[in-house]
């Protein structure tokens, strides 16, 4: 009998809101939005955790510049704090080596991480999701009953094609979606906004392509000063975050 699932609810009990940053498409800025959202909320004085569930291609640790830290063992594992954010990722255990996992292993890792991580009281737990509607998304829906989604897309019709599918399934399952962020916008167009409105999900707003962003990757202090961060902050004001 699988026992770890029983304890997950207890581990998440003192977390007020759990927000998965997701997309039907890869490379649209989920990890960047997840990390900067966590930074933004921590800056506002909230207690924040960040969980990287992109198990093949974890990247939150690169964005935040997490190095030379390891969780503490105390009735489970306590995530180290980076920029005031409690940060948990598979990289602590893989030493960043290539990670090939099959679906059942993905599920087992997610269960294990959720069962042994002692987050303590948090206002927000942000989850950096891998692209698509695969095992990770299904497991988050299965194990995190009070979860919400924040969906990221780019202005591309190709991205929006995949993102629409994610939005529709979330809607069908009646999972709360805070809204859709259009990222890496280059020119004015309302295609994404219109498509999102048609599906009946809130459109939050857009973040423009920031050509100076790359220089800030790996440094939380620099990230806070980017144009990207400023635009994210403005967009969040339109939500209850």
């Amino acid at each position: 009998m699988e026992v770890r699932v029983s304890v997950i609810k207890k581990r998440l009990k003192s977390i007020k809101r759990i927000i998965s940053v997701a997309s039907g498409k890869g490379g649209v800025g989920k990890s960047l939005v997840a990390s900067t959202l966590a930074l933004n909320l921590a800056e506002k004085g909230h207690k924040v955790g960040l969980l990287d569930l992109d198990l093949y291609g974890p990247s939150s640790h690169i964005i935040l510049g997490v190095k030379d830290v390891f969780p503490e063992e105390e009735k489970g594992i306590i995530p180290p704090k980076i920029h005031g954010i409690k940060f948990m990722s598979i990289v602590y255990f893989t030493e960043d080596k290539p990670s090939a996992f099959r679906g059942i292993d993905i599920t087992n890792i997610i269960i294990e991480l959720l069962a042994i991580t002692q987050w303590g009281p948090l206002d927000y737990l942000i989850i950096d999701m891998p692209p698509g509607i695969g095992d990770e998304t299904l497991d988050v829906i299965r194990f995190i009953k009070k979860g919400e989604f924040l969906v990221v897309t780019t202005p591309s019709k190709v991205a929006m094609g995949a993102v629409s599918k994610l939005l529709k399934i979330l809607k069908e399952l009646k999972i709360p979606v805070i809204g859709v962020l259009e990222n890496m916008k280059m020119t004015e167009s309302s295609i994404i906004e219109d498509t999102v409105a048609e599906i009946g999900i809130p459109f939050i707003g857009s973040i423009f392509f920031d050509k100076n962003l790359e220089d800030a990757i790996g440094d939380g202090d620099l990230l806070l000063k980017t144009k990207f961060m400023e635009e994210l902050g403005d967009n969040l004001k339109k939500t209850n975050l």
Partner: protein, 137 residues
């Protein structure tokens, strides 16, 4: 002390199962621990006892037995099977500790000893589980 978290999941799951089966008391829990996770049995048992004490009536006279399950791994490419003890010899301390927390990172830190593939399965002996529960209605 991440054994504590695993012990807690055993007890939480046992209490849930007892609830479902309308058991007033749980008299016996048989626990399996997979070799791959290298549980420190002393710490694990200590944690179980502490958690049981905190749960009063329902678990008061429960008998706990623990069985260790040998770990077998099987390659999906060449079909070779091997055991945790074969694999253990090649691991350094950090790798072994990582597998202790998340058994699946065995796929990251080791390979099939025969063909070198990372595409193998954990057939037996992964982590902790309840083998059986007995109780009184």
């Amino acid at each position: 002390m991440h054994e504590w978290a695993l012990a807690e999941s055993i007890i939480t799951a046992a209490l849930e199962a007892a609830e479902k089966e309308h058991l007033k008391t749980i008299t016996e829990i048989k626990i399996g621990i997979g070799e791959l996770q290298q549980i420190e049995q002393d710490i694990f048992e200590f944690a179980l006892n502490e958690i049981i004490k905190a749960h009063g009536k329902k678990l008061k006279n429960v008998k706990i037995s623990i069985e260790t399950e040998e770990s077998t791994l099987k390659c999906k490419i060449c079909g070779h099977t091997w055991s945790f003890s074969d694999m253990m010899k090649k691991l350094n301390e950090e790798e072994s500790e990582a597998i202790h927390f998340i058994p699946e990172v065995a796929f990251v830190h080791t390979r099939c000893p025969k063909c070198g593939s990372p595409d193998f399965e954990i057939i037996t002996g992964r982590g902790v589980s309840i083998i059986s529960i007995k109780g009184k209605r």
